[in-house]
Amino acid sequence: MSGPSRLHRNLLIGVVCFAGLAVAMVLTLRIGVAMGWSQPARIIAGTAGAAALVLLWGLFAIRLNRSMDEYQRWREQRAWYVGGLAGLLLSVPAYAFVGLGGLHWLFPATDAGPAAARAFSSGYMLALFMPTAGAVIYGLWTRLARR
C-alpha cells in the first residue's frame, strides 16, 4: 500500500476508534448517573476515559507520523508550530477579557462570580501551561540528547 493510502487508512481508523471510545465513555457516564454513581466515581470514570482517549490518540499520532513522508511531516510540524503559537497568542486577550468579567458585562444573566472566575483561570492556565511546558521540555531534551 502506498504512503498516502496508508496515511488515509490510519487516519480513518484513528478517527473511528477515537469517536467510538468517546461515545462509549459518554454512554458509560450517563448509565452511571442513571444507576446513581457517586460524584467521585463519576470523576474517576470520566478521568480514566479521557486518559484512555488520549492514549489511543497518542498511539495513532505515532502511526500517522510514521505513515507520512518528509514533506507531509514538515507541513504538519509547521502547521502545529505556526497555528498553535498563533492560537496561543490570540487566546491571551480573550483570556483577559473573560477573566475581567467581559462575558458578564455582555450577558449580565451569566453566572460569573469569583468562583467561576477562579475556575476559568485554572482551566485556562492548564491549557496554556501544558503545551508551553511540553515544548520547553522537548526542546531541552533534544538539545541534551544531541550532545
Binding site: S2, G3, P4, D69, E70, Y71, Q72, W74, R75
Partner: protein, 67 residues
C-alpha cells in the same frame, strides 16, 4: 532553491504521481518540491539524483551560491 525536476519529469513523460511512486513519496511532496515550496532532505535529493541518473547539482541549483 530552484530545481529542474519538472523539466526532467516532462522529458520522461511522467506525471507527478508517477514520479511520486518511483520516489516513494506523496504526489503533494513532488508538487511542493517542483514549485519550490519545499526543499527536499539530502537522502531524498540523492534518491532523485539516482532516479534521473544525474549529479545533484544538475537538478538542484543553489540560489545563494557565489561566483
Amino acid at each position: 532553491m530552484k530545481n529542474r525536476l519538472k523539466v526532467l519529469r516532462a522529458e520522461r513523460d511522467w506525471s507527478q504521481g508517477d514520479l511520486a511512486d518511483r520516489l516513494g513519496v506523496s504526489r503533494q511532496s513532488v508538487n511542493a518540491i517542483e514549485t519550490g515550496k519545499y526543499d527536499p532532505s539530502l537522502p531524498l535529493a540523492f534518491r532523485i539524483a539516482r532516479l534521473f541518473a544525474l549529479p545533484i547539482e544538475q537538478i538542484f541549483e543553489d540560489g545563494n551560491a557565489g561566483p
